[in-house]
């Protein structure tokens, strides 16, 4: 373990100082000599190019997270030496978070794959040496093409799957064009292990099936549901730079089982019991209605001005039956405590408030919620009152923390619905959609599909997204979304059929999906895996061919898209340094080269498509090589942003060269109340009773001739009847018997994770303690000191964390920022491959720390088919292996495993 820095502790410091410099491995070399007088002539370029030594800035993008910040890269002597925010960007406005700088250590990671490699050991499994040997690109692509054509000629083209992790805006040219023309319906992405359930929760209520933006500088009150925007989520750089002003202007409430970085800086931290957020949200909504605090302009009011919610009872259902129709153009409901009179709620921009009250809210008092959530009822009252009285400048910001849970669809809806009550949807200081950012698209593929392809494309998708119990809703369409984490089970069960080949890039699903043991088994079974990757990751260990990938920020063509700070933007990615070895870019070079190889072997359709349909939109010239192809494709996809003929608004770019130089195209600033006339839901309103979701679910069950109640049962939801269509509380679903596994396991993201790809950088390890409660060069289980005492543990003890599905060995850290009864661990460490920093011992497959996904039971939020990793879905027990002092604990090593 590396020494930790303790600058104030003099004695500790002197010890480090005295230990330093045991061996001088390098001759003394002044820094400047590297530019002027090479000490090793073979190692250093001649400094003859003045312009090169002066350096240049090249615009690019950071894909360390989905913030997708526009950056600029400093290139000196052909080397990338700095990454800063692109000052032309209006989203991240010249700022980046620490992740952007970590990319430099990824680029120059000594453990990067240099050449294509072939497996020589047919046996596959964790800890089994694949016996990789380097081969040429020609050999590698030839073998892949042979395998593809073999499948195709056997009428099994559909048994090929394309799988992507990090991808860029041009992904379709590889990830879609290849399988569609080849003849496979199977193209998978990592979307469903990311945050798809969040899109479901918002789309069902407001018709926008996407992530939202937030007016941080004008908000007066924010409730962050598991959201840690200065560390993760989708606009880190913007949140960091605006946090100071936001905090001065607004109250910030963080709901999170652990003290996150944002919770530490918030006005209030509500350390909720994992998975119970829906109860807290319903109680807040109850108070807002019962106390008459909702936004009248947005929601409307009872026509006689009396608040009939104040009685804390359901409104009269009999009158509802009689009159619950439209009156005067507005959705109205009769109601009231006495069935003798008629009371009408004249709803404005919302729909279904009375039914929501009757079906869910009327009895969801703060006292009721306090028991469930572990939050004081007084706090709930206070937050409800404060949130609702900010004149619409209030944000309820949801995240994967509340939605990516087994019952998170409705939890997310419950939390998100508060924006409707506050009337803060699309308002100044509220929650907003993205301005449009138009992009180009692939030319039609149809003419290039032959009869073999057309036949194979009719097969069902291999990830079980079309099964009854996986509704797989994406943008209001059932059976549509990825079911990423189900692919392992589908491979193992050969249901709907067995996949035979996978071409995967920038993903590491055997590490990043919950229930890793299933993936290890599935990938060992998969007959042929091609892995395109920068590092020999866990997934690579199961590959038959490994292809070295270029780094998107520095070495390859691409672009990204996002919105923050009320702007949408497209940001370019362009090669700015030569790749050091033989890496090629997945979406352009490998796509092109593989197409050529397939043509060489007698199947030219993909190569023809690339050549004929991916012409340079400027010159009309067909690409003649992979480099031209890459640039052409990025031009095609970004043309609406830089070609004035498209009149996209926003930045006034005149030509492609402007886009490259500016690096970014910014939209016009988002306007408030833009969709007030029609939110895009079935009723056009903000739906507290979701007719939109009802239609989708009804359509789904009709196809299977089943009922919504049967669907709820199959999807592990407790709701029945009308409750399936309103935001509501569902009890948390937990795997593991509480007697055997007494602690709830809760996980979170690191602010240095770069989507889980940075653990092999030393800076990630050096600054791991920037995640509150964590330690440098380690991967600790954060345990409340009261639980530590009860378990007989001392700070730093080595422990086994055991769940119903697996176990990991890590150090226990006593930390008050953890709720008693809950143990917390960051995701990102625990690599048993990837590199010599990420893994404690690469050769012996010994991880540094432990992978949370070894513990987490594979669960789904079934409406979106998202992977449910949060909400405390897995219980664990903690057993001491070795005490911090090094003496043996209650059990000896080996015994407990």
């Amino acid at each position: 373990m590396r020494p930790t820095d303790q600058p104030i502790d003099r004695r500790s410091f002197l010890r480090i100082g005295a230990a330093a410099g045991a061996a001088a491995v390098l001759a003394a070399q002044p820094l400047t000599a590297f530019a002027d007088e090479p000490a090793d002539p073979g190692a250093v370029e001649a400094p003859d190019d003045k312009a090169a030594s002066a350096g240049k800035w090249v615009m690019s993008s950071c894909q360390g997270c989905t913030s997708n910040c526009a950056v600029r890269v400093r290139v000196e002597h052909g080397r990338a030496v700095k990454v800063e925010g692109n000052p032309n960007a209006k989203g991240n406005h010249g700022c980046v978070c620490p992740n952007a700088m970590l990319a430099l250590q990824q680029l120059y990671d000594p453990d990067r794959v240099k050449y294509p490699m072939r497996r020589t050991n047919p046996e596959k499994g964790r800890g089994i040496d694949p016996g990789f040997v380097p081969i040429s690109w020609d050999e590698a692509l030839g073998e892949i093409a042979d395998k593809m054509l073999e499948l195709r000629n056997a009428g099994e083209a559909y048994k090929l799957a394309m799988a992507k992790g990090r991808s860029t805006g041009i992904a379709d040219v590889f990830h879609k064009a290849l399988p569609e023309i080849y003849g496979s319906p199977n193209r998978f992405s990592h979307a469903a292990i990311c945050a798809e359930a969040e899109k479901l929760a918002t789309g069902a209520l407001c018709g926008y099936w996407d992530y939202h933006d937030y007016d941080l500088l004008h908000a007066k009150y924010l409730i962050l549901w598991g959201t840690d925007p200065i560390s993760s989520n989708r606009q880190i750089s913007n949140a960091i730079s605006q946090f100071g002003k936001m905090r001065a202007n607004a109250k910030v409430i963080v709901v999170d089982p652990r003290l996150s970085a944002t919770a530490a800086k918030a006005d209030k931290w509500l350390p909720i019991i994992p998975g119970t957020d829906g109860a807290l949200a319903s109680a807040i909504a109850h108070v807002i209605l019962a106390e008459g605090l909702w936004n009248r302009e947005f929601v409307g009011d009872f026509t006689d001005g009396t608040n009939y919610f104040a009685y804390g009872k359901p409104l009269d259902e009999s009158l509802w039956q009689q009159y619950g129709k439209y009156r005067g153009g507005n959705q109205v409901y009769p109601g009231g405590p006495s069935s003798g009179d008629e009371y009408w709620f004249d709803e404005k921009k919302t729909y279904g408030i009375c039914r929501w009250w009757n079906l869910e809210l009327h009895d969801k008092t703060p006292e009721w919620a306090a028991e469930i959530c572990g939050i004081d009822a007084d706090d709930i009252y206070q937050i409800a009152r404060d949130f609702a009285t900010q004149k619409a400048k209030a944000v309820s910001w949801i995240s994967p923390g509340v939605t990516m849970t087994p019952r998170g669809g409705y939890t997310g809806m419950a939390c998100f619905a508060l924006n409707g009550l506050a009337g803060s949807y699309e308002t100044e200081g509220g929650i907003l959609r993205s301005p449009s950012a138009p992009t180009g698209h692939l030319a039609d593929l149809y003419a290039y599909k032959d009869s073999k392809a057309k036949k194979a494309l009719k097969k069902p998708k291999a990830d079980q997204r079309q099964y009854f119990e996986f509704v797989s809703i994406e943008k209001a369409q059932a059976s549509h979304n990825q079911n990423t984490n189900r692919i392992a089970d589908a491979i193992l069960a050969e249901e709907p059929y067995g996949l035979k080949m996978m071409i995967a890039y920038w993903n590491n699903w055997v590490f990043s999906c919950t229930g890793t043991a299933r993936w290890e088994e599935a990938l060992a079974k998969l007959p042929y895996l091609v892995h395109i990757t920068t590092n020999p990751s866990e997934m690579s260990q199961f590959a038959d061919i490994v292809l070295p990938a270029k780094h998107h920020m520095f070495e390859a063509w691409g672009f990204v898209k996002n919105k923050m700070n009320l702007y949408a933007y497209l940001s370019v990615e362009q090669p700015c340094v030569e790749t050091l070895f033989e890496a090629r870019n997945d979406e352009t070079e490998i796509a092109w080269d593989l197409a050529q190889k397939l043509a060489e072997k007698g199947w030219p359709n993909l190569a023809d498509y690339y050549r004929i349909e991916c012409r340079d939109p400027y010159t009309g010239n067909q690409p003649t090589n992979a480099e031209e192809f890459g640039e052409s494709v990025v031009k095609i996809f970004t043309q609406p942003a830089w070609d004035p003929a498209f009149a996209a608004g926003g930045d006034d770019l005149k030509k492609w060269a402007d886009f490259l130089k500016n690096g970014v195209w910014n939209s016009d600033r988002m306007t408030y109340k833009k969709h007030y006339s029609d939110f895009g839901t079935k009723t056009g309103k903000f739906e507290f009773y979701s007719e939109t979701l009802k239609e989708v679910l009804q359509g789904h069950v009709d196809r299977y001739k089943r009922s919504v109640n049967e669907l709820m049962e199959a999807c592990n939801y407790q709701a029945r009847d009308g409750r399936a269509f309103v935001p509501h509380y569902e009890e948390p679903y937990r795997n593991g018997d509480p007697d055997e596994f007494p602690l709830i396991f809760s996980e979170h993201r690191s602010r240095l994770n770069r989507e889980g790809r940075s653990a092999n950088t030393t800076w990630y390890q050096d600054f791991k303690d920037a995640d509150p409660g964590d330690e440098p060069w380690d991967d600790v289980l954060k345990v409340n000191p009261r639980d530590m005492a009860a378990l007989g543990l001392a700070d730093g003890d080595e422990v086994d964390v055991v769940s119903p599905t697996g176990s990991i060995r890590v150090r226990a850290r006593a930390w008050e920022g953890t709720r008693p009864g809950v143990v917390v661990k960051c995701y990102g460490q625990g690599h048993w491959a990837y590199g010599h920093v990420a893994a404690a011992d690469y050769e012996r497959a010994i991880p540094r720390g432990g992978n949370n996904n070894d513990l987490l039971v594979a669960e789904w939020e079934h409406l979106s088919s998202s992977t449910a990793r949060h909400g405390g879905n897995t219980r664990v027990r903690v057993e001491r292996v070795r005490s911090a002092g090094g003496a043996g604990g209650g059990q000896t090593e080996g015994e407990v495993r």
Binding site: R2, Q6, P7, I8, D9, L14, I16, G21, A22, A23, A24, V25, L26, A28, Q29, P30, L31, T32, F34, A35, A43, E76, H77, G78, R79, A80, V81, K82, E84, G85, V96, C97, M101, L102, L104, L107, Y108, D109, P110, V113, K114, M117, F132, P134, I240, F243, G244, L259, A261, A264, W269, P536, W763, A770, P772, G773, R786, W815, E816, G817
Partner: protein, 228 residues
């Protein structure tokens, strides 16, 4: 007179470590070595818990013990900064012992060994540190070879400390930690210029320095509070 100083607004600081990564990058600091630091402090009992992240570095003291201790004049004051001349430095470590904050260390060649390593985790398939260094043309590929600190990668036992990126300051730029702080938590400027951000922040009230009891008159100041 110019009196450069840094004011760290803990209210704006989000504790992300970007300042330290920027520092390591700008100054090509070796592994296990740091020119800037941080402390994290968790206090209280659940659920009344407070967490603080405090970035630290050389305090560029007005009465700098390291300057007084250096037998060869390698440490000196200029424009409010405490600077180090590695040409003069004999690596005796007197400054290391003298600094009450522990902010001066001795350079360790082992910090650059990763890019001299010759073993690959997959022989022939993955790179080695030395291969990356050689192919990129620099011992540390992302190293800042333009830094005019005249420091060396590997000169054993010469002192190293934060110089507030003097190579940038001389060009009128802020230290790189301040440049890369997305939160805007690091104010930089001339405390003797009443119009500067730092002078205004210092005049605004409630200013703290690390360990005033050491009597060294630090010029790095802290305002604001990190958390609740």
């Amino acid at each position: 007179m110019t009196r450069y100083t840094m004011v760290i607004d803990l209210g704006r600081c989000v504790g992300c470590s970007a300042c330290q990564i920027a520092c390591k990058l700008e100054n090509t600091v070796g592994e296990d070595s740091f020119l800037s630091y941080h402390e994290v402090v968790t206090t209280g009992e659940f659920p009344q818990v407070s967490y603080k992240y405090i970035p630290t570095m050389c305090n560029h003291c007005a009465d700098a013990p390291c300057v007084a201790a250096c037998p060869v004049g390698a440490l000196y004051k200029r424009d409010g900064l405490t600077l180090h001349d590695p040409e003069r430095c004999i690596g005796c470590g007197a400054c290391v012992a003298a600094c009450p904050y522990g902010m001066v260390t001795l350079r360790d060649a082992a910090g650059y060994a990763a890019f001299d390593a010759t073993s690959a985790i997959i022989p022939g398939g993955t790179a080695t540190g030395r291969e990356v260094a050689q192919a990129s043309g620099a011992l540390v590929p992302y190293g800042n070879h333009g830094a005019q600190t005249a420091l060396t990668y590997a000169e054993e036992h010469k002192a190293q400390k934060c110089c507030f990126c003097i190579h940038r300051v001389e060009k009128g730029e802020a230290p790189y930690c301040a440049e890369m702080c997305a939160a805007g938590a690091r104010l930089w400027g001339d405390a003797d210029d009443p119009e500067s951000d730092v002078a205004k922040a210092l005049a605004a009230g409630a200013v703290e320095v690390s360990h005033p009891d050491y009597g060294t008159r630090p010029s790095v100041s802290y305002v604001g509070t990190f958390g609740r």
